[in-house]
Symmetry: C2
Subunit: 167 residues, 2 copies
């Protein structure tokens, strides 16, 4: 679309994570475009989960207009490169997150907020776990329930003054 100064950084960066993506593209004879770098870069700065739409808004706000198709394309690439994961939690639209240390997802079924928690006991349990005739690659633990904020709100709503609860 447009030539961006960023694109030089893309090939020459010393950041291991940038290198990983850059090398992945090289290995497959794919090109380093300003769009790919912008999307990749924006994602690195997100902590937690995001939807395609949210990502596009963030890029817009950065003044970087990228088409929906290119976003999907790059997201796909990052998933193939095992740098990004897609989650579809109950009753919600698809969300993405960078692949990092394994963690548990706490999903509030009232407000939809998702929180990540590290759980070394669980990680140890999973590392030791073997499945008959199944070669495990990675796992996802989703815990659905109510977050403290929603629990407080719903409790308040049940009490005398009867505050209205949203959602």
């Amino acid at each position: 679309m447009r030539t961006d100064p960023n694109i030089e950084e893309f090939a020459s960066s010393n950041s291991p994570i940038v290198r990983k993506f850059s090398d992945y593209l090289d290995a497959r004879g794919m090109r380093k475009t300003a769009e790919r770098y912008a999307i990749f870069n924006r994602i690195q700065s997100i902590n937690g989960h995001f939807t395609i739409e949210e990502l596009q808004h963030m890029l817009d706000e950065d003044g970087f207009r990228v088409s929906r198709s290119t976003i999907y394309n790059t997201i796909e690439l990052l998933m193939e490169a095992k740098m990004l994961r897609r989650h579809v939690f109950e009753g919600m639209q698809a969300q993405y997150e960078r692949i990092s240390l394994p963690h548990t997802h706490l999903i509030c079924t009232t407000c939809g907020k998702v929180k990540e928690v590290r759980d070394t006991n669980f990680a140890a349990f999973m590392n030791a776990r073997r499945f008959n005739a199944f070669n495990a690659d990675h796992y996802c633990l989703y815990v659905y329930g109510t977050c403290s904020t929603c629990a407080r709100k719903s409790k308040r709503a049940r009490e005398p003054q009867g505050n209205k609860r949203r959602q």
Copy 2:
């Protein structure tokens, strides 16, 4: 749509699971229709996961034609009644399964097959696990990897005669 003899069974059945659904409908002033019973019934006989499309095919084969809207409607109802769960595994369309004892899902990323395994150690671990300021209701553990069938095929493909691998 049509009056089916099954519908009488619906209200009078002694099966606890039928009662549960029947009572759920009563409690909400909802009607017991032949369609709801047919869909509910068909689902009870499915072990494992199914898609909306597969369910409709099964009903068709049983000679019971139900519209897509009604299937979605009833599926929704069963989920609200906590008798059915929706799962969206990586890169696949939504699948449903009856809610039963907690189990781990093994998902083959090559062929897409999903297998359930009981894991009492894990269940015990989860039962004891408490999350700060989060009230857990239920959890899902998805393990992605390669099933033995696909592992065998891919191994064979890598060897001399070079069988072509599908997917």
